[in-house]
């Protein structure tokens, strides 16, 4: 019963959706202010989602069954991640062994659900989007794993979130070390790639392929994909906070760190044009993987 409550209400579905949509609003508002615009009111994202629920769901004639299932798979896995992270933060004893690995796997699923959904719609633009998303997944996963491995080595080989949290104290978090800083920088860009933000919004690219992966979606399934994006904006900063920014668990400091990472995302997003997919792959494989390997090496030597 408690698990169900955790999953559905706090810190799972309801809570993370609300925080995620508010994070989306912060994104839109800060972007707007950077671009000399006014920006939407705080409830804009909620209204957008609710509006989509009232819209007709159009399914392409020869779409596969997976077309409608795909968004929910992504949503389920993200809510699960939000639950695990939230429980590890609030009730540290409740974690299970190797929950870091589980979180890592679950974080890969939303991108896969996007690929499945868009390629079952049989739209040529969606298939271009899906192939781009696939290439993107292949490029950012390696440096992301490496940066997490650096953290694992720094926390003495722990693959449990609780142990990683406990290995950092208030003034001695992982980011304070050389390897931690490197790994954090890499992880920020990989997290942006995962959330499809800014320069890595390659699979959607409305000016090039008209929304790409999402082109055939409408109504409720579209709103679920939008929720996935919003949840990503909640889950990724929280995950990075836990891995790199240390233990201080008071809500005020926690939200400060959360907003800080969010603002880094937004600034990078607004000061860079969208990359081409081949450039993004080169970026991750060379400019991100080498620092990540370096971070792992430094972590081995205890720096």
């Amino acid at each position: 019963m408690k698990l169900l409550f955790n999953f559905l209400i706090f810190p799972g579905f309801l809570f993370s959706v609300i925080v995620g949509l508010m994070a989306c609003w912060v994104d839109r508002k800060v972007s707007a202010r950077l671009q000399w615009r006014v920006g939407p009111p705080w409830y804009q994202n909620f209204v957008d989602i609710i509006k989509l629920w009232g819209k007709e769901t159009i399914v392409p004639e020869d779409a596969k069954v997976t077309f409608l299932f795909a968004p929910y798979i992504g949503l389920l896995s993200l809510v699960l991640v939000a639950t695990i992270l939230g429980r590890a933060l609030i009730w540290p004893q409740s974690g299970f062994s190797a929950d870091l690995i589980v979180v890592f796997y679950l974080l890969a699923i939303p991108a896969i659900s996007l690929i499945i959904g868009s390629s079952s719609s049989r739209n040529p633009l969606a298939s271009v989007g899906a192939s781009r998303e696939m290439k993107l997944v292949l490029s950012y996963e390696l440096p992301f794993i490496l940066s997490i491995i650096a953290v694992i080595i720094k926390s003495g080989g722990a693959i449990q979130l609780e142990t990683i949290l406990n290995s950092q104290s208030l003034f001695k978090s992982h980011i304070a070390s050389l390897s931690g800083t490197l790994a954090f920088a890499v992880a920020i860009f990989c997290a942006m790639g995962k959330s499809g933000l800014g320069p890595f919004e390659i699979s959607e690219a409305e000016q090039e392929i008209m929304g790409g992966t999402l082109i055939e979606y409408s109504g409720v399934p579209l709103s679920v994909f939008k929720l996935n994006k919003a949840l990503m904006l909640y889950v990724m900063p929280v995950f990075l906070t836990m891995l790199f920014l240390g233990k201080d668990l008071s809500p005020v400091f926690m939200s400060l760190k959360f907003v800080m990472i969010l603002v880094i995302f937004i600034l990078v997003k607004n000061t860079n044009p969208r990359m081409r997919i081949d450039q993004a792959m080169r970026f991750f494989w060379i400019y991100m993987t080498i620092p990540a390997v370096l971070a792992v090496a430094l972590a081995v030597f205890g720096l």
Partner: protein
């Protein structure tokens, strides 16, 4: 992969605000061929112009395009003044300066508009918003001088309609002074940003020979090392009395096109400053009453390239033929060589890099679908129109 997929850009597409249709034939991400289909926006302006008298036509032709709404009327009045032996024979000094000021202000606002759109097309919305923010003061200047942000209604055969008031000149100068730091910022932001360079360099390349073969005009041609500019080659207004440079780049890629447009804005600022400095006192209109018969051509360097208007007069108060050739008509075709061989991501910015203006370009064509052969010409259209009128008359019982 040898599997060809058609990626449509258009007829309605978030990329561009006008209806146009590009069919990209792609293999994977690579564009192997492209079909350009335009003609969604035909409004019969040439025919309409033949039913208006000479003083009404400028109002009509400036509505061809909201962005070049100085170039088209300017080219038109030049064409009519060609019947008198040229602009300098009939137009008072002060009007010449005012014409150049308006034309160069228009170039600044058009290039800023393009810069913003180009930023938007490569997913850099911050540049988009900032460029359009700095375009606003220029439009405010237009509103102050002409009463409108667009469609200025400044040109008339033999002069200009409105004077620039003395109290407006300091405001114009102040706006230009404030614009230069903004231009410096854009220059820095574009030229030093490694990601922008990665996105724009060495893509959509038009070589010098291709530019000549495809008759490309304007900044698109100048970015490929072709040194053409109507303002210098066949001066109008006061372009031959003030100091300015034709900006030419060699590379021919989209980065070069961006650089040419940004540097041209500096030249325009300098041209307006000099014109305001030298602005003489006197009449602004020579009150022409009769248009002699004959044929006249007006050529203007619009922000997108050479804009040509041809006028045929038979001595009455209406042109009996008015032909318009907009610069985009020449430039859009060059997408065929520029976009093929690139990726889909590059295709969008390549298509936009010629600063296409479809509503300028559209003249009617009716094609046979299977063979793409022209099946209607001008006389066919007139016949069709007469037949329809006949039918309507019958329907009304006239």
């Amino acid at each position: 992969m040898s599997h060809k997929v058609i990626v449509p850009i258009g007829p309605y597409h978030p990329l561009q605000e006008e209806p146009e249709f590009f069919q990209l034939y792609v293999e994977g991400e690579k564009v192997v061929d492209i079909d350009i289909i335009i003609g969604y926006n035909h409004r019969g302006i040439e025919k309409l112009a033949e039913s208006k008298h000479f003083d009404q036509v400028p109002y009509l032709v400036e509505r061809i395009c909201g962005i070049c709404s100085s170039s088209h009327p300017y080219a038109y009045v030049l064409a009519v003044e060609d019947l008198f032996g040229g602009e300098k024979n009939v137009v008072p000094e002060r009007a010449l300066y005012i014409r150049t000021i308006i034309d160069e202000l228009q170039r600044i606002h058009s290039h800023l508009l393009w810069l913003g759109l180009a930023g938007h097309f490569i997913g850099y919305n911050t540049v988009w918003m900032w460029a359009w923010k700095y375009r606003e003061p220029v439009l405010d200047c237009f509103e102050m001088v002409t009463g409108n942000r667009n469609n200025y209604a400044m040109y008339k055969v033999g002069g200009v309609r409105r004077d620039i008031k003395d109290e407006d000149i300091p405001v114009l100068k102040k706006t230009l002074d404030e614009l230069v730091p903004a231009l410096d910022m854009f220059k820095g932001a574009v030229m030093d940003d490694p990601v922008i360079q990665a996105r724009l360099k060495k893509i959509g390349v038009l070589t010098r020979q291709q530019v000549i073969d495809w008759c490309v005009v304007g900044p698109t041609a100048r970015a490929s090392g072709v040194n053409i500019d109507i303002r210098r080659d066949e001066p109008y207004g006061v372009a031959d009395r003030i100091d300015w440079n034709v900006i030419v780049e060699k590379e021919g890629d989209i980065f070069a096109k961006t650089v040419v447009r940004i540097m041209e804005m500096y030249e325009s600022v300098s041209m307006i400053r000099q014109s305001l400095e030298k602005l003489p006192r006197g009449e602004i209109d020579s009150n022409i009453k009769d248009i002699p018969p004959g044929e006249g051509i007006g050529r203007v360097e619009a922000p997108r390239g050479e804009c040509i208007h041809y006028i045929k007069s038979d001595g009455t108060n209406r042109p009996i033929r008015h032909k318009i050739r907009a610069p985009s008509f020449m430039n859009v075709a060059s997408d065929k060589v520029a976009a093929v061989g690139g990726t889909i991501s590059d295709a969008t910015i390549t298509l936009a890099a010629v600063d296409p203006c479809y509503c300028c370009t559209e003249r009617v064509t009716v094609l046979e679908k299977s063979t793409n052969k022209k099946i209607l010409n001008g006389w066919d259209l007139i016949r069709l129109s007469q037949e329809k009128t006949q039918k309507l008359k019958e329907g009304l019982g006239v």
